[in-house]
Amino acid sequence: MSSAILTRPTSRWALPRFMTAEHPFPWLAPITVMLLVFGIYPLAYSVWLSFHKRNVVSRQLDFAGLHQWTRAFSDARMWHSLETTLIYTFVALAVQLALGILIALLLDTDRKGYGVLRALMTLPLVVPPAVTGMMFLLMQDGSFGVLSFYLYALDLISPAQPILTQPGTALAAILLADIWQWTPFMVLIILAGLRALPKEPFEAAAIDGANGIQTFLRLTLPMLRKVIAVAVLIRGVDLFRIYDYVYIITAGGPGTATETLSFYAGRIYFTGDFPYAATLSLIVLVVLIVVSNLFVRLFKVRF
């Protein structure tokens, strides 16, 4: 900074330059310490754990090389939970994005009353995810749930096979909670994107006689590319590490049908096998880092 050339009355004793407010150091030191101590150290500890094994007799951790990692890669339950996580992530992303775009287009008008509707749409975002899980548990209960009642009435689901007891519908039940809570996230971001679009290309398209669908596919969607990329990235990361809804709504059941990778890691943690739980949680982390980095590069997302 050019300000360094200004001479100021020096204080009684002079600090080294990196300790003064002119230098980034004092501004960034506190956050760096915080992130190192509570972000990097635990991560390193996790990696250390993943190369160890619990000794049941001595209750100590013994070095075990790649034992936990080979165990994970040959663990059918791990692969199943990874598959469930991927299905969950992609289905939720696709539905939330599609619904998000449609609802954003629907609400994107300056007419009276729509401001209230847009504000109401933000409410699901701040419901604690654990409460959202409970909401959908209450509505999807097999015997007195309001949603179950209508699904039975419409003959879509048989009362003999309640939603949460069948593998397929149980996953759908969790997805429904996620879609309810996070579609508004997509709606809001896409609405902001729509509002920021320039007017001229749309006027030109209207003069050229383009219909609504053509305008949307050829103009609106390409211009929203950046906005959609940011939304998909943030949402995708959150979806892949899903834990809360699974814990509350199905607890991974029936059996292990709706067990996601994070949830499986948590379940192993509660059995006391910390090295393996750490290994599984590191797999979540590695997949996230690799995929999100690729995504950032591919779609040139900037923060």
């Binding site: 900074m1 300000s3 200004l6 100021r8 407010a21 980034p24 960034l28 506190p30 956050i31 915080m34 992130l35 509570f38 635990p42 991560l43 996790s46 609802i103 629907l106 609400l107 009353g113 729509y114 504000a119 109401l120 749409m121 933000t122 699901p124 975002l125 419901v127 604690p128 995810p129 654990a130 409970m134 909401m135 209450l138 509505m139 007195f144 009642f149 309810w180 508004p184 809001l188 971001i189 609405l191 902001a192 994107g193 509002r195 920021a196 940011v230 990361v237 590490r241 834990y243 809360d244 814990y247 994070s262 948590g266 739980a277 949680s281 982390l285 880092i289 999100s292 997302v301 923060f303």
Partner: protein, 299 residues
């Protein structure tokens, strides 16, 4: 684009319908919280009206009235309703715990993030982009990967099951959002403002504290609200790191016991927990999109 009157009406109806569908779970939830026990568990069909609203669920969870006393008030017929374990449904301590942790972590986050964001917005140094990316990458850490080692770390440091411990962890999770969001607000203030103040003889710290900081008050408020809401709603970390301190989301999950799911108390406490968040979120509507996208999209 001109549209006919019929189209306009169709759009209005559809828009209201869509929003109503999204509001239904919240409405059903709030409705359940004032239902008597029998109306919640009615198997013949959903009960929308036709029950006598009761404040009993709120009295138990928010006022700490014993459920046995309420059973006594209603006479013998309700006595059969009282079942389930000995877990306490009085949630006042949980609301206090959650509030202390949310306020504490918001304050700590803002303190650390404001300094870093100002620096990242105003100073140039080598490795700046890498530093930013490092902070952003913290946002992508899965909570499960953080929490397992932190459990051991906190056990050694004596931070398990303490306010300090949860405040630190919630701040850690909130820092990336806060830094990136505040940086975007600082970026909105022209650099000329700083330069003018520096030329007038203010120190860098005075420029920050007296000149620039007051100009981003709105942004700081929005960031604070988002940090508060995150901490208030967070579940996994609180579940793993505490045993006697129970934040509200964790407390609610304990109302599901092996013998009974206490829907009345769950919905009453749940409704009480979401009302503050609703008020806060409506206050920061203007900056919400920027917040949700970590400052990368501005409205």
């Amino acid at each position: 684009m001109e549209s006919s009157r019929a189209q306009t009406i169709a759009r209005d109806v559809l828009a209201v319908l869509v929003v109503a569908i999204f509001m239904f779970p919240i409405a059903w939830w709030a409705l359940s919280s004032i239902k008597p026990y029998s109306a919640i568990f009615d198997r013949s069909g959903p009960v929308y009206t036709g029950f006598t609203p009761t404040p009993d669920n709120y009295r138990v969870t928010l006022l700490g009235v014993s459920r046995v006393d309420i059973g006594m008030e209603q006479g013998g017929e309700a006595a059969g309703v009282i079942k389930g374990g000995a877990s306490s449904y009085d949630s006042r301590q949980s609301l206090l715990d959650s509030a202390i942790i949310a306020v504490g972590s918001t304050a700590l986050t803002l303190l650390l993030a404001t300094l870093a964001a100002y620096c990242l917005s105003r100073m140039q140094f080598s490795g700046q982009q890498s530093f930013l990316f490092w902070i952003l990458s913290q946002r992508f850490m899965p909570p499960i990967a953080i929490v397992i080692p932190v459990v051991f770390m906190f056990r050694d440091l004596g931070l398990r099951d303490t306010y300090t411990g949860l405040i630190l962890v919630h701040s850690l999770i909130n820092l990336p959002l806060a830094v990136l969001l505040l940086k975007s607000f600082f970026d909105d203030v022209p650099r000329e403002v700083d330069e003018a103040a520096l030329i007038d003889g203010a120190t860098r710290w005075q420029t920050f504290r007296r000149v620039v900081l007051p100009m981003v008050k709105g942004g700081i408020a929005a960031t604070a609200v988002l940090c508060f809401i995150f901490s208030w709603t967070e579940f996994l970390l609180s579940l793993f790191l505490t045993t006697s301190i129970r934040t509200v989301p964790v407390k609610i999950s304990t109302f599901v016991t092996s013998t009974a799911t206490e829907w009345g108390y769950i919905t009453a406490l749940g409704t009480s927990a979401i009302i503050p968040s609703f008020i806060f979120i409506l206050l920061v509507q203007r900056h919400l999109v920027r917040g949700l996208t970590l400052g990368s999209l501005k409205e």
